[in-house]
């Protein structure tokens, strides 16, 4: 075992564990620093299905809203998973712990082992060169890492529909989880209809197992994906953390919130963390890899190079939510078994105001808590429940994402009166954002109408900046940072999470963040003579 100083990785989310694996497997000492303590406990293995819970099995309330009643808080501005899958403490305190002051930006982050992957929607798509922005990082460099990560986390989906190449081919892919009758009906209709050049519909690609891997079991279609999977069929970096912790050259320091980092390659890097009791712990490392979440990592890196009062962009993918109705499905039964994450995805080409594409995802509405379905309806709650009772068998909830060019948020590191550096995060959309949303909405209405599905009037609502939790492009590779995410004036520090992605396209970026972290970890291991 090497006696060299460890590689310190700040954060144990998807990026942190993805970089840790190649380094640890190469025999290098690795120290993962985690602000949280214990991982979220997995849901009970005996939890009934959503259909059974809705039909009043004992303890149904404990499963649906949690013993701590966390499910009763208002999280209607965010993804339903933030309410159903985790207690309030999951996201509370992230901004304060990382000294981020957000204005007009719905910052979502967590100080929990495994990070936000605990509630991941698990949508996986690979980026091509256009997605990556044609600079700093190219798809060819990421290809081996995509493969390694896909094998590790397990991805299921279809390789022979119109969306297969969009999500990426050539990756190890398990068979898709069966579609719900409603999604299947929509896909069948799409297959029978004349294809349009600007619209493609197909199966979603998800980090969800249809075949078990290790202790993770395959999807049982209990429809409770929004409440976290009791079989760990949905990927969660916390599972990887357990595997890493079992390796002799890996240590995990928990309950340590890193507030400052520093160091250059000519000396050791360091990370200074605080415990809840106020004590300060300084960890030295050969390299400090930042994977604390894009915005928190950016704050640490900016402070390390003392870049105060100079704004940096914070790119996110503006999103909208909408509901579509398949009238042909009305009156049908709601299936007792189903898959609760994204069933179908679509690509809609955009021409106005900028060329590009939007990515859309479709979920069975019956997989989502009634509280989240009615949250924005102007009806009475009782009336909304009655309306839903009629519509649910034909109702799908959609999310559509625009490329990050339509966001205009920025962050500035400022020294506050308390003597600490805070990141002043300001949310905004680009001036073209409203036009792009209108264009997107028109496209969605038109294409789904052709498939016999109606976008429900008044159902389209735009997320506030940041609420979609696709953050990146803050200190892009090849521009603000080196090819391995190293900071120019503090090159013992590498950023390995979304902060260094050169671009945030409409596609979900988690798989790419993991692949890039794996790439950086692998490159560092090679640099130090470890295969």
């Amino acid at each position: 075992m090497s006696t060299a100083p460890p590689v310190v990785i700040v954060g144990t989310g998807p990026a942190g564990v993805s970089a840790a694996f190649p380094l640890a497997q190469a025999g290098l000492p690795v120290c993962l620093v985690e602000a949280g303590g214990e991982s979220l406990p997995p849901p009970s293995a005996s939890r009934p299905s959503l259909s059974e819970l809705r039909h009043g099995v004992p303890d149904a309330l404990d499963y649906l809203i949690g013993r701590d009643l966390g499910g009763l808080r208002d999280m209607s501005r965010y993804s339903p998973k933030l309410r159903t899958a985790a207690s309030p403490s999951f996201v509370d305190g992230y901004a304060a712990a990382n000294r981020i002051d957000a204005t007009g930006f719905d910052l979502v982050g967590t100080t929990t082992p495994g990070g936000l992957s605990n509630i991941w929607g698990a949508v996986c798509s690979t980026f091509d060169d256009d997605d990556l922005g044609q600079c700093g990082l190219c798809a060819k460099d990421l290809a081996p890492s995509y493969r390694v990560v896909a094998e590790r986390i397990g991805i299921s989906g279809s390789l022979d529909d119109d969306m297969a190449s969009f999500h990426g081919i050539g990756l190890p892919t398990q068979p898709a989880v069966p579609l719900s009758p409603m999604a299947q009906s929509l896909l069948d209709r799409y297959d029978r209809t004349e294809k349009q050049a600007d619209f493609k519909l197909g199966r979603s690609r998800n980090a969800v197992l249809s075949q078990g891997i290790g202790t993770r079991k395959s999807c049982t279609q209990d429809n409770l994906c929004m409440w976290r999977c009791r079989h760990q069929a949905i990927y969660n970096a916390a599972n990887d953390l357990s595997d890493l912790e079992a390796m002799p050259n890996v240590t995990v320091l928990r309950n340590l919130t890193v507030r400052r980092v520093g160091g250059s390659s000519s000396e050791l890097g360091w990370a200074e963390g605080h415990r809840a009791d106020g004590s300060v712990v300084r960890v030295a490392g050969r390299r400090i890899l930042l994977a604390a979440g894009a915005i928190a990592s950016a704050r640490l890196a900016l402070e390390a190079i003392s870049r105060f009062d100079s704004p940096v962009p914070v790119v996110s993918a503006p999103a909208i939510a909408f509901a579509i109705l398949l009238p042909s499905r009305l009156g049908r039964a709601i299936p007792a078994q189903s898959f609760g994450l994204s069933q179908l995805s679509f690509r809609l080409d955009l021409h106005d105001p900028r060329p590009g594409y939007a990515l859309g995802l479709l979920y069975d509405a019956a997989s989502i808590s009634i509280a989240d379905l009615v949250a924005h309806m102007p009806l009475t709650r009782a009336g909304a429940a009655r309306v839903l009772a009629g519509l649910l068998p034909g109702l799908m909830i959609g999310l559509a994402y625009l490329p990050g060019e339509y966001s205009a948020s920025h962050a500035t590191l400022r020294k506050r009166a308390d003597g600490f550096a805070h990141l002043d995060l300001r949310g905004a959309y680009a001036p073209e954002h409203p036009a792009a949303i209108q264009h997107l909405a028109r496209g969605i209405r038109r294409h789904f109408a052709r498939l016999g599905a109606w976008v429900l009037p008044g159902s389209i609502s735009a997320y506030r900046p940041g609420a979609e939790v696709h953050y990146g492009g803050i200190l892009p590779l090849g521009k603000a940072t080196g090819s391995l995410g190293e900071m120019p004036d503090a090159d013992a520090i590498h950023i390995i999470d979304g902060a260094v992605l050169p671009r945030v396209p409409a596609k979900h970026h988690t798989l790419t963040i993991m692949a890039n972290a794996d790439r950086i970890g692998r490159a560092l291991a090679r640099r130090w003579g470890h295969a």
Binding site: S51, H55, L69, I370, R386, L388, P393
Partner: protein, 420 residues
Amino acid sequence: MTRPRDHLLITGANGYVGARLLSMALADGYDVTALSRTRPIAASRWFRWSLTDPVPTEAFGSGTTPITAILHIAHQWESDRPEDEDENLAGSRALLAAARVAGIKRFVLASSVSARDGALNRYGRVKWRLTQELNGPEELAARIGMVYGGPRLGQWGAMCALAGKLPVLPMVGANKGVQPIHVDDVCRGLLRMALIPHPDRPVYGLAAPCPIPFGHWLKLLARHIHGSSLVILSLPLSLVLLAVRIVNRLPLPIRVAEERVMGLVGLPIIETAADLTALGLAPRPLEPALASEFGRRRRLEEARAALACVSGARPRPSQIAAYCRGIERHANGTTLPMPRLAHRYPPLLRLFEPPFGSLDLGNWRGRLHMALTIAECSLGDTVFPTTPVSRFRVGLCLLSTIITECLSLPVRMILGRRPK
């Protein structure tokens, strides 16, 4: 610690204050002999006695321990006799005389803040006259303030009714100070008066040291007990008396004694801080006491109505408990003002649900949303059909719901405004 051997005799032991006092004395481990018209629920040595009966002298002896003190709580409100021949005067005098004959020195008379010479109401005048007859060194009077809490009996029950049944209350002297005190604090004070070794004053005030305006007090009761707001309409005394007489003649489930109104009008303010200190008594603060006493019941009422409103079915106990815990956890335990009719007809709450805005628990939109979140576990086939349903039925249901929603929208926009 040895068990107290004091033996208390309590009259009116089945009344509003007396029953509470009896329970407290027994819980404290004292021997108790109860005198009342009907047998008290709490187990004790009991003799039947009303103020018009001869005093049962056997009650003063033949017990396990000699009587240490008499707590004279009994009072007869209704009387057909002239004031000089009031049953309370005769009965109390007889009791006091019997006590003196039996050698029982400590005699505590439950009097009133309103007891004073020339009081506007007969109760105040009678209590004043009785107080004047206490001349032994250990013959004490307790000038008790406006008693609240516990079962809604006596004056307390009348106040609860006044504060809750009428949305607009005509009254005189809305700014007149009253000194409310919780019934348990009164009982604790009476017990201490009965047992304090060397009483240094003949009269102890058992009333809140800081008076509050009576109108404010009624508004507090309306909010905490009934969850409603109350508008006080200041009127001359003559008009109030007229309104009370009219209300009493109408077939309404309330009766307001004119005598009590007069008692309120003529209520003086008394200094009680020193007396309370002498007794080592710290009356509980008003608002926390009311919130603690009525908060849980109101949360239960709101939970039942809100859950029934969104689900159309009788809620389960687990759902009611979750709703109450939800309020406690996410809304500091506060309930929203709820129309009384909504208790019987929960769908009425829909009219108070704002069509837009926040889902926080400060309005009915947030509350009913929370109720629906909880109700999801029992909606079953009502919302999540597991068997096919005819499309005609679906269409009909949607149509009727949309019509109902459209019709109720203007009302919701008015009634759903955020409560202050």
